[in-house]
Symmetry: C2
Subunit: 775 residues, 2 copies
């Protein structure tokens, strides 16, 4: 459906994602995969004209609202500004009728412009050339720009366009906004002011239009419409053969959650500012605004200048696609906000942040843009409030992070009910919010990873230590003493493998909890010795000395499942005793989730079937705690029982395959991971792109193929490039120093532009690099 | 667009409303005009497959909910059961693609079945015959029946149908329901339980499907889906050439507002009952259920057996169409509910009741089905609670009825903001809820009309007198003394003509208030003399004796505008002084509301422009208070200033034209009134059919062409049939006696089947009829 081998202008094949044929069944795919955004907001790329099955979504990061007491907070779908009701000689324009030639819809990753063009002949034989352009400005975070050019290729034709701000939208039916106030100033500037129902976030959305006939601006007094949740204008223009109509629309979005209003807010002031902003972007016009936006993207690509020279241009395209989406989804401008599991590209997962951020996306930022990595970790620091509440509500001490997080102070927001149970016909209960507890140590792992890779002491002193200590306090209170075994256990959990609910001693969970407490003890000693004042501060805040005693008494008694006689580490207490069935029918890439056509979750839970990497994830995160032969044995054992039904699974397996030296498998899994969104599966991205998988693509390349790791605080590089790759180069930040790494099958080149030398292990050998070194 | 002259089977042309070509711009028209219902619920006739611009509506009478504190109560749009996602060889079926022949969509008024059929050839050349059938049972009020037959006319084809209950709907964005609980029993019985957010009305909606291949029931285990606000199943069937698939769906709707639960309600009990009901209708099957429904309609047409013999079959079709819609919209089963201004056929006017019921629809019931007329008036009796509150809130005494009414106890529910003001770009304020006050006397007029036509003393003793007395108390407190003129005035109102806001002494309002007080005084004397106990009861309740003193002191001092030197009664104090402009450009039937393209409401308010009948309405209601020459002079003066921008206008003008003996004009206006919904205007019914206009069609025929009136408690008959009518006959209830009236150009035949004689004026002469009399 999406095509990457299209004959494109030189150099475009690894920059442009293109849809070559109009297909109504592919609406969701393109809407999500080609979604636009700038971290402040995300705009799903629905076509201007409407189609059955479309999802128009505009999300503004951090504007969570809760529809009612039975639902959890989610990112509300804000009013749509992209829809146009286009009439040609009075009939509604739609690609479902008439004849289409030269169709193309493409997202150019380089300048983040969405372009759709085609020649359309209607039932009456009138021929028109359409070109739609759209961007969400990276230069002005509140701006959406749109442009439509229509040229009459045959005879005269009347074109009417109704356009405005349409808030008759919802989140699959849940309405998060009061109707609000609607206004048209000077028959030109449209304004809609809406407030979310529970969180009381004010939105001010503006829109204005400019029409040009053959490049000449035309005055055209529009018909005006104000309806329920809607304000619009309608223009009509007669086009002679050969004439072109250019229809520009600029829209602005401001909300009371904007950082600008964090301290001092009034709606009248925002409203005035927003109207001024609208007038200013309207005065600038599409072309100038787009230029500024394109320049901002040029800076991004310059900064994240990762490139692959490969016989297959898809490899680089997929990598750029991943980086593109990470940029558009990440609220780098505001530490009060996290990254949603579907970014800002769909309603899936309600805009909530999972461990996806810390484990799959954060590494990219740690090594490419430490400032943004820090902002994302500070979001978790702000989340301590909710984490402490969650711990308390569950009868524990310290900070227990929510499995799903929205606004930092919200605490747990995982919904309780999911899809149908095919046996009972009831909705399945989602247990993650209650018992998928490893998220707490995942966040601590990320803090540690960030700190060791950047050396950012300031972050640790302000935020990091407190997070590590208070989570360790949680884990210590969470441990359960087993008198018979004489050990501490963690029972009744869900591990990363979500097909196993209510298990005892999930290896990943236990090891990571152990890691968390051990880390706290290590930093306890460090602060006590080196930073007595800071130590005193945290001791007073968290009663550290008492906590330390508990940690010490429990740490070595935590049960860490060991390899059995076949070197297999049991995923949990009962996994290895469960029935094994042939999973071949369900393992096909096309069959994600198909196991549930035949079994319900209870039944799947009683078989050796894993949704995703679990023990493998443990090997990836704590790699030097396990012997290579143990890793390999477990890889072989568990992989065949893993359905990869989670998009978090493939990249981890690819990295481990790289570690094991199986280049072919590693590349195969990388490609499959890339195809989660970019592949042919038509509905895979309907609810939004897969943020963790996109972060995983970068991980496959940099941590897998280039073998970048932080081990015991040291940087490691151990490339295993896929055979058809000629070169991989990328920037890498290490301890505040920007490095440039370039890898070919023959050599590794490292450039250090900082004035101080950098130490790192290259293929296991310690090296010191000043300026440029070749290995 | 709709065709009534289509070659139909004998006798069908005056029973069937047909759409002969599929047109996406006509979606709203057919959805509303062909809407189904049974008074309990109303179902808009959207196609099974979805189209852009469609409105799927299912309303259950009386289930009002208020979205938030900024909106008023409205009838919530309940979950959709009519949508089917049909795939042919994997591609979504839509009439926007492929080739269509033999298309027809028709509503048969006789058995209230909606049938849509066509032959469709897809892009791949596969030819299929589709027939969709649907009814909302008049026999089982909680039942919706649907049936789809698909026959393969060429080769083998895979047909998939996804169907269920979809609550991802809203009222133009306002969501009235909590998400609710979803369940599938035995892979067959789908259930959705939802509760309205504010009024806490529980809905239980069920659905079940049956598939037959060439008449043989097939077991087909469906795929099941539970999503947000949605529960569905999907079936797939392979059809060989010549094979037919029959897909039946039955759906049931129950709510906690059902009369059955008025005293004793629990959700588990309703849920159990609803599931039992679903299983029972499923067991019965479409055909048997439809037969029972058709029989119920046969009874209706037998009871309301009005017929016209005319050279134009449209006349009878339009009349039947009016009766059909009155039946489907009227909650005859439950006196706690009123009739919405759009019936149950659209979101327009939010399901609220206006004076439309009492003035335009009630006469039909008074003379055709007095029991239902009484139920509708009892709804207003129950509304006294809200009316008293409204009076109090406005600083008045007694009962001041709300301009718009929802649940009886709600009081005023008129929204405050309307369409755009083309001058200021802001929303226009709607004043009716504050100052359109004639509704109170309109209701009293209807009580009086009902009482004098039926002689229902029981109604009066329980409800009627109290309504009349307490509204007279309101009016007495509402009157304003003008010292200079030495009279009581009613200032700052909107009369029936809503283009004149904030006027003083609207003639209609003043005369009707006078009528209201005068009537109260009359019944005061009657009760005091004839029914001392009842008198005592009301005196204690309402302090009648004091009230009577006030009435007496004010009645004759109420200012009743008199004809001027040109016999013109001023519509209000300033109307006749305003500018007169040429309204020709706006008077065309196609141009309803077009005045607002050029002027805003303030500007229209300052010219002699009327939206609708105002003085004419007064002549119609209180006809023997005005001399014929005054009526005619005013008719001629005001008609040319009246745009008929309200659907309440034409029928009144038609009746007056009949009174004046202008048969041609009377028929012309009748036809225009009928064309409000049935005519070619493509968007006129988008928000729903025009309930008052439909009642007005019956009024044109029976009160206009047959000249039926109640004057001073006496029945009058004075026919003026249109020239091309050969016969008009209809049933007429008078004083509890069922009469049959039959009128030809030559004679009038009256049959009285009661044992007692009936007195009536025929063409002005008093007659006594026993058995049958010919005049």
């Amino acid at each position: 459906m999406l095509n990457y081998n299209k004959k494109l202008p030189d150099g475009a094949s690894d920059w442009v994602v293109t849809e070559e044929n109009f297909q109504t069944l592919a609406l969701g795919k393109c809407e999500a995969v080609m979604a636009l955004g700038n971290g402040y907001m995300g705009l799903r790329s629905a076509a201007e004209e409407s189609y059955v099955g479309e999802k128009r979504n505009l999300f503004v990061n951090g504007t969570f609202n809760r529809f009612d007491e039975f639902e959890v907070s989610e990112l509300p779908n804000a009013a749509d500004v992209t829809g146009l009701d286009i009439r040609v000689d009075g009939k509604r324009f739609t690609l479902e009728q008439g004849e289409i030639t030269e169709y193309s819809r493409s997202l150019n990753l380089r300048d983040a412009e969405l372009v759709r063009s085609f020649i359309w002949t209607n039932a009456e034989g009138k021929k028109l050339e359409f070109t739609f352009r759209r961007f969400v400005s990276l230069d002005r975070l509140h701006l959406i720009g749109m442009k439509l050019d229509i040229k009459s290729l045959s005879g005269s034709v009347k074109v009417s366009i109704a356009s405005g701000i349409d808030a008759q939208v919802s989140n699959s039916g849940s309405q998060h906004f009061h109707e609000g106030e609607k206004r048209i100033y000077d028959k030109k500037y449209l304004e809609l002011i809406q407030t979310t129902t529970e969180s009381k976030v004010d939105f001010v959305i503006g829109a204005a239009h400019r029409l040009k006939l053959d490049g000449q601006e035309i005055e055209n007094s529009p018909a005006m419409e104000i309806d329920r949740r809607k304000v619009a204008v309608a223009y009509s223009v007669d086009l002679q053969e050969g004439q072109s109509l250019s229809f520009e629309k600029v829209a602005t979005v401001h909300t009371s959650r904007d950082l600008a209003y964090a301290q001092d807010y009034s709606l009248p002031a925002m409203r005035e500012h927003a109207l001024g902003d609208l007038k200013s972007v309207y005065a600038a016009g599409y072309d100038a605004l787009f230029q500024d936006h394109a320049s901002a993207w040029a800076k991004v690509w310059n900064e994240y200048g990762i490139t692959i020279e490969s016989k297959n241009s898809f490899d680089l395209l997929a990598l750029r696609f991943a980086l593109y989406h990470m940029v558009v989804m990440t609220p780098a401008h505001d530490r009060r906000m996290g990254i949603g599991a579907k970014g800002l590209s769909g309603e899936g997962y309600k805009g909530h942040s999972f461990w996806d951020t810390e484990i799959f996306i954060l590494p990219f930022y740690i090594y490419s843009n430490p400032k943004t990595a820090r902002s994302l970790l500070e979001y978790r620091y702000l989340g301590l409030e909710g984490a402490r509440r969650k711990a308390k509500e569950n009868g524990y001490a310290g900070a227990m992070y929510p499995w799903e997080a929205a606004w930092p102070s919200d605490g747990e927001v995982t919904p309780v009910w999911g899809a149908v149970d095919i046996v009972t016909g009831e909705q399945t209960k989602i247990w993650s919010g209650f018992i998928e507890q490893h998220i707490t140590s995942d966040i601590v792992y990320a803090v540690w990873h960030y700190y060791r890779a950047t050396g950012d002491e300031d972050f640790m002193e302000r935020y990091g230590y407190e997070m590590i200590f208070d989570t360790a306090i949680f884990w210590a209170s969470r441990l359960e003493w087993d008198e018979a075994e004489g050990r501490y256990e963690i029972n009744e959990v869900v591990g990363p493998d979500e097909y196993k609910e209510h298990v005892d001693n999930n290896a990943f969970t236990n090891y990571m909890a152990h890691f968390n407490i051990e880390l706290a003890m290590q930093y306890y000693s460090k602060l006590e010795t080196e930073r007595p004042e800071l130590f005193k501060h945290y001791d007073e805040l968290l009663n550290l000395k008492e906590a330390r005693k508990v940690w010490e008494s429990k740490l070595d008694l935590i049960y860490l499942p060991q390899p059995n006689e076949n070197r297999i580490i049991p995923q949990d207490d009962t996994y290895l005793q469960k029935e094994i069935i042939d999973l071949t029918p369900y393992k096909d890439q096309e069959k994600v989730g198909s196991i549930f056509n035949d079994y319900n979750l209870d039944q799947v839970g009683n078989m050796q079937i894993s949704k995703q990497a679990d023990i493998m994830m443990l090997f990836f995160l704590l790699e030097n705690k396990f012997a290579p032969e143990v890793k390999l044995a477990n890889y072989e054992y568990y992989e065949e029982k893993t359905l990869h039904d989670s998009s978090l699974s493939l990249s981890t397996h690819s990295i481990l395959a790289s570690d094991f030296g199986d280049k072919e498998l590693a590349y195969h899994l990388f490609k499959r991971a890339a195809e989660i969104d970019l592949g042919p599966k038509i509905h895979s991205s309907d609810a939004g792109i897969h943020a963790a998988s996109l972060g995983g693509i970068w991980e496959c390349v940099v941590m897998g193929f280039a073998g970048v790791r932080m081990l015991d605080g040291q940087l490691h590089l151990a490339p295993k490039l896929p055979d058809h790759w000629e070169k991989l180069s990328f920037p890498l930040h290490w301890q505040g120093k920007p490095l440039e790494i370039s890898i070919t099958p023959q050599q590794i080149s490292i450039t250090n532009t900082a004035s101080e030398p950098v130490q790192l292990f290259v293929n296991g050998e310690l090296q010191v690099v000043q300026d440029t070194a070749i290995f």
